[in-house]
């Protein structure tokens, strides 16, 4: 039973990593807007640089406000530590750049956020890292895609925007057979819906911009290490298991039996690539996380009502949410995501693209923009925005058509959301009657 010393999720969301400020008594986490931290002596400085003592040197590498956020997300995910980054994309890049270089290979799900698909398919390839994309449910495909130079498996807890649920247990087992870790993007679910480490994932990252922040105010990312992957045993990660002359000839896996990834990611990746998070951003994300359990519960109850409404509407051809038995991931979602499979989902309007456009433009409570996970409800047309660089084949692989509409259900009164959708669907229907 959770008690004072074994706190539950809601308590950790408020307290993990934070205590009243010993200098001032401030109860809320102070925002440490400072680039640097004074050394007590030359020896103190040298000890901090050489990792003989723990502390802060320069806010690109670490910062007290960011450290609270990093501990908090680690506590909520069940990890050993985390690194706050400038964005979710920076967290993904940091993970990849820490684990591999040119000549390496990734096996990734086809059902990815468009920006991640872009990074892997185009940008990383330019730096000599290739990716093979596999449908998330095609377990034989994951296995067959492994090459001798494969260094990472990567997928999303629920694929954006089709909500294909990743069978983390099965995919991580295949990854581990191949001697590589599974990295999971848990942005759309947050640890309130699923803790990927409990199912076999090794690394988790978030676009904290979304549900963790929850208010559509800041851009940020977090990568969390579960401390479970044995880099030495794998034998594929000399970046972590052999002396690194770029940092005191440190052998990261000797230095820390479970934390080698985080050591190198911070001491090399943050230091050299520099995609760090502002302490002010960290503070705002912390504010968001404090109410994450309350918000997620409301996100999910609102989503259930909106999905039920859409699924019964004659102008809606398909609603892609795993809570519906018609969804291909329904059974898996019941198993892995008992609290729900998220509040971001897509649906298809019967009729033309013009009708889809009319639908989006008629909405008043839903905001038309490129984000998800806000406390406000959002809408977007993926094929022309988030996924517009993808070919039709790639779109189909991700479960997207030209008529797909993506919703992110917020915290408004559910009746107002349904009324808004009802009006917009009526507007789209009127166009059909008018022969548009």
């Amino acid at each position: 039973m959770p008690g004072y010393s074994d706190p539950g999720f809601d308590t950790l969301a408020l307290h993990a990593g934070a205590a009243p400020d010993p200098a001032t008594g401030a109860r809320a986490v102070p925002i440490h807007l400072t680039t640097s931290f004074v050394f007590e002596s030359s020896d103190h400085a040298a000890s901090l640089f050489n990792l003989e003592r723990a502390g802060h040197v320069y806010s690109r590498i670490s910062n007290p406000t960011n450290a609270v956020l990093e501990q908090r997300i680690s506590a909520l995910e069940g990890g050993i530590g985390a690194i706050a980054t400038a964005s979710g994309q920076a967290a993904l890049h940091l993970s990849i750049a820490t684990l591999m270089g040119a000549g390496s290979h990734i096996v990734a799900s086809t059902a990815l956020y468009g920006g991640s698909q872009n990074l892997l398919h185009y940008t990383m390839r330019r730096f000599g890292i290739e990716t093979t994309f596999v449908k998330p449910g095609d377990l034989d495909g994951w296995r067959a895609a492994v090459r001798p130079n494969t260094k990472l498996f990567f997928g999303e807890t629920v694929g954006n925007p089709g909500l294909d649920v990743l069978d983390i247990e099965a995919v991580s087992a295949i990854a581990h057979e191949a001697g590589v870790p599974l990295l999971v993007d848990s942005t759309l679910t947050s640890p309130w819906l699923i803790k990927p480490f409990e199912h076999g994932a090794d690394l988790v990252y978030h676009s904290a911009t979304k549900f963790l922040s929850g208010h559509g105010t800041v851009i940020g990312g977090l990568v969390v290490d579960g401390g479970s992957f044995n880099w030495d045993q794998s034998g594929k990660f000399t970046e972590l298991t052999e002396a690194y002359d770029g940092f005191h000839n440190m052998v990261f896996s000797e230095e820390s039996t479970v934390g080698a990834f985080l050591l190198r990611a911070r001491r090399e990746g943050l230091r050299d690539f520099g995609a760090c998070m502002s302490p002010h951003t960290a503070w705002l994300i912390l504010q968001g996380i404090e109410t994450l359990p309350l918000r997620m519960a409301r996100h999910m109850s609102n989503t259930e009502k909106v999905v039920a409404f859409l699924a019964s509407h004659p102008l809606v051809a398909r609603v892609g949410h795993p809570m519906l038995e018609s969804h291909a991931s329904h059974a898996l979602a019941q198993k892995l995501l008992p609290r729900g499979a998220g509040s971001v989902f897509s649906f298809d309007i019967r009729g033309s693209r013009t009708q889809g456009k009319a639908f989006v433009e008629t909405l008043k409570v839903f905001s038309h923009l490129a984000n998800v996970g806000d406390c406000r409800s959002l809408v977007i047309h993926p094929a022309s925005t988030t996924h517009f660089r993808m070919s039709d084949d790639a779109l189909a692989g991700a479960g997207i058509t030209q008529g797909t509409i993506r919703l992110s259900i917020g915290l408004e009164d559910p009746d107002d959301l349904i009324d808004d959708l009802k009006r917009a669907l009526k507007a789209a229907g009127n166009l059909e009657k008018a022969g548009a």
């Binding site: 010393s5 074994d6 706190p7 950790l12 307290h15 993990a16 990593g17 934070a18 205590a19 040298a46 000890s47 050489n50 990792l51 003989e52 003592r53 723990a54 502390g55 802060h56 670490s62 910062n63 007290p64 960011n66 450290a67 609270v68 990093e70 501990q71 680690s74 506590a75 069940g78 990890g79 050993i80 530590g81 985390a82 690194i83 706050a84 579960g226 401390g227 479970s228 044995n230 005191h248 000839n249 440190m250 000797e254 230095e255 820390s256 039996t257 479970v258 934390g259 985080l262 050591l263 911070r266």
Partner: protein, 272 residues
Amino acid sequence: MELSVNGSKTYCYTGGKPFDADQPTVVFIHGVLNDHSVWILQSRYLAHHGWNVLAVDLPGHCRSSGQAPSSVEEAADFIAALLDAAGVQRAALVGHSWGSLIALEAASRLQERVSHLVLVGTAFPMKVSQALLDSSLNEPMKALTMVNVFSRSTLAPPPSALGPGTWVYGASLALGRRVLASNTAVNVFHRGFKACDSYANGEAAIQAISCPVLFVLGAQDQMTQPRAAQPLISAAHNSGKTVQVASLPVGHHQMTEAPDATLFAIRDFLKS
């Protein structure tokens, strides 16, 4: 570095510096379901401040092969053999929890070969409840969670091992799982606890040591409560030993919950 001790591969973390036989040596001994990495900060600091460091993985734990010790006495013999294998005539011994009992017993056996003795999170007797012993054998993951809860005093530790952003509660759980998995022949969790529980020579051992002793205790330690160290402290005082006690406002994982205070206590004591 790797040594051959009693014919088995033995790993010692040297703090990022090569072993130098001309320097004084300090040996760090970990507790149950731990390994060398629990000492990262303290051992790395000392290695860069004039000491040879041998932060050992005990036999059958993580990077070291060999039979996991089934008693404190057996482990103490291993420490003696380790010093021989490393060519170290004299060393300071620092042990945490189970490791503190091993250091104590080794110091009593090695006499003048031990320059300083540091007992972190110690108790004598170090009794383990039957329920926890059973749980460590039959439900090790549940027992590991329980021990981790008992070992921690705060949800907001200062920057610690691995540096800022480390969730030491989760890091300890992960390390425990890794150490347990590292030995497929023996449950090192249960074996270590059993060794703690059955050790009976503590008071005699501390009376027999010939070096000064430092106790580093956690005021909020629920695993080895400070009062449980009193029999050893009293026995040391009563037998005329040089005794220092550092009480830190933390739980059982002094090295991660109070990394600097633990380091300074050890560093200053080793200078004495």
